[in-house]
Symmetry: D2
Subunit: 370 residues, 4 copies
C-alpha cells in the first residue's frame, strides 16, 4: 500500500477498481455485486439496513454475542424495530427458533433477519444455510442479512449458494489489511428491496455505487491505498487457494483447542460443530479475572489477547488465529498464553503448547502420506 495516491477518475484507477470488485465476488462466493465502502465494518452494517428497509420496519435479530448486540443497536439507532431472540452465547444461531418466530408472523411484518456468521466475542460460528432453510420453510419473505466481518476470507462462506440477501464484511481480519474498507455482498432480492426502501441514505447508497462501479469507479473518493492492499490480499488468497486457506484455519483452530483442553480450561463454545476457526474464546476458572492474565501477557511478552466483551467481560479471554497466520506464529501465541497463565497464577495444567504441537505434527504427517 506504500504507493502514491492516483487520480480516482483515471484509466489506471478503473483497472484497480474492477480487479478489487471482481475479486471480492470470489471471496464471498457470489456472482452478484459486491460493494466496497471506505469505512469500518460498522458502516457496512448500517449500509445493509438503510438500503433495504424503511423507517419503523421490524427486523428479527438473533443475539448470541456482543457483535450481534452491537448490530442490533445500529438497527435501533436507525429507527428500526428490533425484535431480539436472546440466544445462549455458548451456542450459535438457532435456526429453529428463527423459523418459529417467522411462522408466527403471518402478516410478514418482519422485513429482515440479522445473524452473525462468526461471533468474535464467543468463538462460535453459525450454520447460515440452516437459517435460510428455516426462513424458506416458514415461507416468509424476510431478507437474510449476515455479518461475516471476522470470517470472510478465513472460513468457508457461500453468499449465493446459501441464499443470503446481504452479507456484511470488513478488511481488517481475513483480508489481512488495516481497517478502513467494508463490504456489502448483495443478492437479487435485496436489490429489489432497495427500490422500495425509504430509510434516508446517501453515503451508503447502493444505486449510485453500482452505477459507478460498472466502469470501475466510485461515486466519491475511495480509499485508494487500501484498494492497492486489497488487490494484493486477493492475489495472496488466490495463490494459496481459498479451500487451502480454510483448511489452514481449521487446523490452527483445532490445535488451539487441543492446547485449551490440555490446560484443563473450558472452551466457551459448547457445540463442536460450531467451533470457530478464526478465534477461540476460553472461560477463566471461577474466581480468576481475565484482566490480570491479559496484563501479564502484554507486559511480559508484548502480546494482546482479546478481552471478554459485553456480558461476558471478565469471564473469558480470546485467542485469535486468523489471516496471515501459520503454525509457528500459533506456537508463539499459545506459548505466551501458557506462560501467562502460570505467571498470573491461573490454575491450569501445563502441556497446552505440547498438545497443540502433537496435533499439528500429526496433521502434517497425514498430509505427507497422502
Amino acid at each position: 500500500m506504500d504507493r502514491p495516491v492516483i487520480d480516482h477518475r483515471s484509466v489506471e484507477f478503473a483497472e484497480l477498481g474492477k480487479c478489487c470488485l471482481e475479486g471480492m465476488k470470489s471471496v464471498f462466493q457470489t456472482s452478484h455485486p459486491v460493494i466496497i465502502y471506505p469505512s469500518s465494518g460498522t458502516g457496512a452494517w448500517e449500509a445493509a439496513l438503510v438500503n433495504t428497509l424503511s423507517t419503523g420496519d421490524r427486523v428479527l435479530a438473533f443475539n448470541a454475542g456482543q457483535f450481534a448486540t452491537q448490530w442490533m443497536k445500529v438497527a435501533s439507532n436507525l429507527g428500526l424495530q428490533v425484535e431480539p431472540i436472546d440466544g445462549d452465547w455458548h451456542y450459535g444461531v438457532d435456526a429453529v427458533r428463527i423459523g418459529e418466530h417467522l411462522t408466527k408472523d403471518s402478516a410478514h411484518e418482519t422485513k429482515a433477519v440479522m445473524v452473525v456468521h462468526n461471533e468474535t466475542s464467543t468463538g462460535v460460528t453459525s450454520d447460515i444455510a440452516a437459517v435460510r432453510r428455516a426462513i424458506d420453510a416458514a415461507q416468509h419473505p424476510a431478507l437474510l442479512m449476515v455479518d461475516t466481518i471476522s470470517s470472510v476470507g478465513s472460513i468457508d462462506y457461500r453468499h449465493e449458494e446459501w441464499g443470503v440477501d446481504v452479507t456484511v464484511g470488513g478488511s481488517q481480519k481475513g483480508l489481512m489489511l488495516p481497517p478502513g474498507l467494508s463490504f456489502n455482498a448483495i443478492g437479487p432480492k435485496a436489490l429489489e428491496a432497495n427500490k422500495h426502501s425509504t430509510l434516508p441514505k446517501s453515503y451508503w447508497r447502493w444505486d449510485e455505487m453500482l452505477m459507478h462501479n460498472a466502469r470501475g469507479f466510485f461515486p466519491y473518493t475511495p480509499a485508494t491505498n487500501l484498494l492497492y492492499g486489497l488487490r494484493e490480499a486477493l492475489a495472496m488468497l488466490s495463490e494459496e487457494g481459498l479451500p487451502n486457506v480454510f483448511k489452514r484455519h481449521d487446523r490452527l483452530a483445532e490445535a488451539t483447542r487441543c492446547a485449551v483442553r490440555a490446560w484443563g480450561l473450558e472452551l466457551f463454545a459448547r457445540n463442536p460443530d460450531q467451533y470457530s476457526s478464526v478465534l477461540t474464546a476460553v472461560l477463566m476458572p471461577d474466581g480468576f479475572a481475565e484482566t490480570a492474565l491479559r496484563e501479564v501477557v502484554l507486559k511480559k511478552f508484548n502480546m494482546s489477547l482479546g478481552a471478554g466483551l459485553g456480558k461476558i467481560a471478565g469471564r473469558v479471554f480470546r485467542i485469535g488465529h486468523l489471516g496471515d497466520f501459520n503454525e509457528l506464529m500459533l506456537a508463539g501465541t499459545l506459548a505466551g498464553v501458557e506462560m501467562g497463565l502460570e505467571l498470573a497464577g491461573v490454575p491450569h495444567n501445563i502441556g497446552g503448547v505440547a498438545a497443540a504441537l502433537e496435533y499439528l505434527t500429526e496433521q502434517h504427517r497425514l498430509q505427507s502420506t497422502l
Copy 2:
C-alpha cells in the same frame, strides 16, 4: 503510515488518538471538539446533517459550484428540504442573499445554512465570516455549516472565531494524506441541536464518538494507519507554522494566476478577493475543449489536470497547488500546462511560466530584504 496495526483498545493507541484529536482542533482553529471518521469527506457531509437535523427540515444551500451541488444532493438524499440559492459560479457565496432569505423566514423554518469555503470546481473561496454576520443580522437561529474539504490546512480557516457551527473536512488535500479520514468540527450550538435531531444515525453519531474520544478511543474500529499519517502531517504543519503554510499557498496561487494572465487566458474566478489559494480554474478559449488539453498533458508529461465539473464540464481546466507543494513543483506543473496548450493547439501567448517565476523571484527577494 507504513507500520503494523496496533490494538485500538490499547494505551499506546489512546496516545495516538488524543494526539490526533487535539491536533485537529488547532488546524480548525477551535477549542471545541473535532470528530474523526474512518470515511471519505462525503461521509462528513452526511454526518454534519444527520447529527443536527430532523427528517423534513429545511436547509438553505448556496450553490456556487459542483461540490455545493453534491452536498445539496446528500441533503436531499437524507430527506431534507433543500432550498437552493443559485449563485453565479464565477463568484463565491453571496452573504447578502443569504441574509435576505433568512430575513424573510420569520417562522425560522430554515434550520441550517450550507456553504462551501473553497469550491474545488471553480477555484473560488468564500467569506465565511460575512455569512455568519448575515445570519446574525437576520437574527436567525439557523446553524452555519461549512465544507472545508479542500481548504483545511491550506487556507486560513477559523471555525470558532467565525462562528461556524459545523465544519466538514477531509484528509486528502491540505493534510497530505491518502483519502480515508474525514472530520466534523463542532460548535456548542450544533452540540445542542444534536440533542433534538431525529434523523436516523448510527455510524455518524457524535454522542458516542465524543464519549469514547474523551479517553483517546473510538466507538468502533478506526483507520489506525491513517491516524499514524495524520499525526505526522500535524507535526509537519506545526513545524512550518500554519501562518507560513497559508502564505506559501497564497504565493503559489498568485504565481499561477500570473501565468494564466501571461497566457492570455481567463481565470474562472472573477473577484480577486475570492481567488482560491489551493487551486486555479482556467476558462478554455471558445471552441476549444479541455479534454484534448488534459489528454495531451497526461500522455506526454504524465500529469493529471483537473477536469471541468458539473455544468462547466468541458469549459475549464483546473490547476491544483496545495498540500506538500513548493515553488519548483509549481514550475513543473505550469510548464506542463504551457507545453500542453501549445501541443493541443489552444490559442495562448507563451511566457506563463516566465511570469510565474518573475513573481516568485520578486516575493523571495522581498522576504530576504525584510
Copy 3:
C-alpha cells in the same frame, strides 16, 4: 526494497541473483559476465585494478576531470605506477594522445588504459570506441578500463561492441537506487589477465564471485535489499526500452543547454559532440562564486545543485538530469536555477526556462507528427 531480508543461500535468493546478474548484462550491452559488489562505486574502481594488474604495473590514465583524478589516486594507493595524460577539462578523452603514448611504449610496459565515459565533474562524455581504435592502431595489448558510474543506464554504452575490457558502474545514478551496489563488466581479455594478476585481493576477487554467480549466489553476504531494488530498476528500464531511455536523457540535456544559452551563461563542455546527457556543468561569470548561488537555491527552494569539484571548485555549478527524471521535473529544476541566479545577483538574461520549454515542446510536436 521495503521487504524482509531473505536467506542468501535459498532457492528464492538464487532466482533474484540470476535475474540481477543477467539484467546487468543487457544494461552494459555485453554477453560476458557482470559482477555485482556490495560496495560504493569506488570499490568497483579498485576491483577493476586489483583483479587484472600486479604491484608496480604501469597504467595510463587520461585525466579530464575530478573523477578521473580520484580513480588515478585509487591506482596510486594500490601501488600502481600511474602515468597521467593531463587533458583539458573542457574536453573529453583525447584518443589521439592515448595512441601516441602507447605507440611510444614499444616495450608494452603500460598494462592498462583508464578512462572515464561520463565525467560527472565537467559534464563531458568521451568517445570510448575511439579510444579502443587508438589502442588497436598502436597494436598495444593494454587493457581498456572505463568508468561508467554516472552514465550506465542513462547514456548509450556498449561494453562488448566497443571492445572494453573492464567497465566500472554504480547503482545510484542511472539505476535509480540508493548507493551500495557497484559493478564490473568483464571482457575475455580481462578474464585472462586476471589469471596472472598478483595484486593482493580478497573481497574483490572475480574468480570466487564468478564461481558462485554461476548458480545465482555470492561468495559472501550480498546487499539483498538493494538487489530487490535492482530487479525493479531493471524492469523499469526494460519496460521503457533502453533506446527510449537514452533519447529521453538526450532531450532533457539539450533542453538544459537551451536554458543555459538563454541565460547567456557558458557551458563548461566545449565540444558539442561531447555534451553529457546526464548532467550539465555551467561556468559562473567571472567574479561570482558558485557557493552563493547553491546556497540560495538550497535555502529558498530546497534543491541541491552540484558544486564545482577539484581544480574547478568555485567556478562551475552542475545541473543533474538523470535517472527517473522527466520534462516537468527538469522545468522545476531549471526554474530553481533561474530564480537562484536572480536572487544571488548573478548576471544573466531571463528566459532560460522558457527556452527549454520551447525546445521540449518542439520535440514533442515532432514526435507526434511521426
Copy 4:
C-alpha cells in the same frame, strides 16, 4: 530506511553521519574511533588486515570454526603468511595455546593474532580478555584482531576494556539491519601500526575515512539508506539498554538449550562458559543428515534453520536467536524444530518446547519477585 537519499555532502547528512559514528562507539564499548564501510562484513575483515599489516607479514589465527577459516583465507588471499592453530571446534579459542605460540616467537615475527568472538558455525563464544592476557603475558607486540560480526549488539563485548586493537563487525545480525554496512573499531596501537603498513589499500583506508569522519562525512559515497536504519537501530538498543539486550539474549539462549536437552540431542558446544547467546548449534544423531530436517522445516513451516558449515556440514543444524527477537518468536522457532524432528524421523524425545517455556516462565517469575 524507506526514505529519499539525501546529498552526502549536506549539513543534514553530517548530523546523520556523526550520530551513527558516535553511536557505534557505545555499541563496541570504546572511546576510540569506529569506521563504517559500505560493504559486507567480509570487507571489514579485509580492512582490519590491509590497514595494519604489510605483504608477507605473519599472522597467527585460531581456527575454531568456519568463519575463522574464512577469515584466514582472506588473509592468505591478501598475501599474508597465516600460521593456524587448529582448535577443537567444540570449544572456543584457547588462550594458552596462543600464549605458547607467541612465547616461542622471540623474534616477534607474528604481527597479529586473529580470533573470532562468536563463531556462527559452532555456537561457541570465546573469552577475548583471556587472549589479551596471554599476549601480554608473552610480552609480545602482536595486534589483537577480533571478529564480532555475529555478536556485536547482542553479546557483551568490550573493545577498549579488553584491549582489542581492531574489532570487525557487521550490520545484519545484532544491529537488526539488512546486510551492507561493516565496521572496524580501532585502538591506538592499531592506528600506530597503520602508519607503517604497506599492504596496498584504497577503498578500506582508515586515514582518509578518519579525516572525513571528523566532520560527519565519508571520503566516498556512503550507503545512506542503511545509515538511516543504523540510527534507528542504535536508538532501539539505547532505549532497551545494552545490559538488558544482553540479558535477553542470554535468557533466550538458555531456553533453547533447555529444549535441546529435553529432546535428548547434544549441543555442539561443550563448555558451558562458552555457550553462545545468539545461536545454538545442535549435533544430529549419528546416521541422520541435517539436510532432510532443514528441508521439512522450510517446506512445512517456512522457517530457515542454519546448515552445518565447513567440516561439520551435514552433522549439525543451527538455531538463531538474535537481534529483534523475543520469547514468543523463540517458542515459534523451537516449535518448528520440534515438529520438524518428528516429521523428518529424527530420534528425539518430545518436550523441548515445554522445557524452554518452563525455564522462561521461571525467569520471568524471578524478575517479578525482584
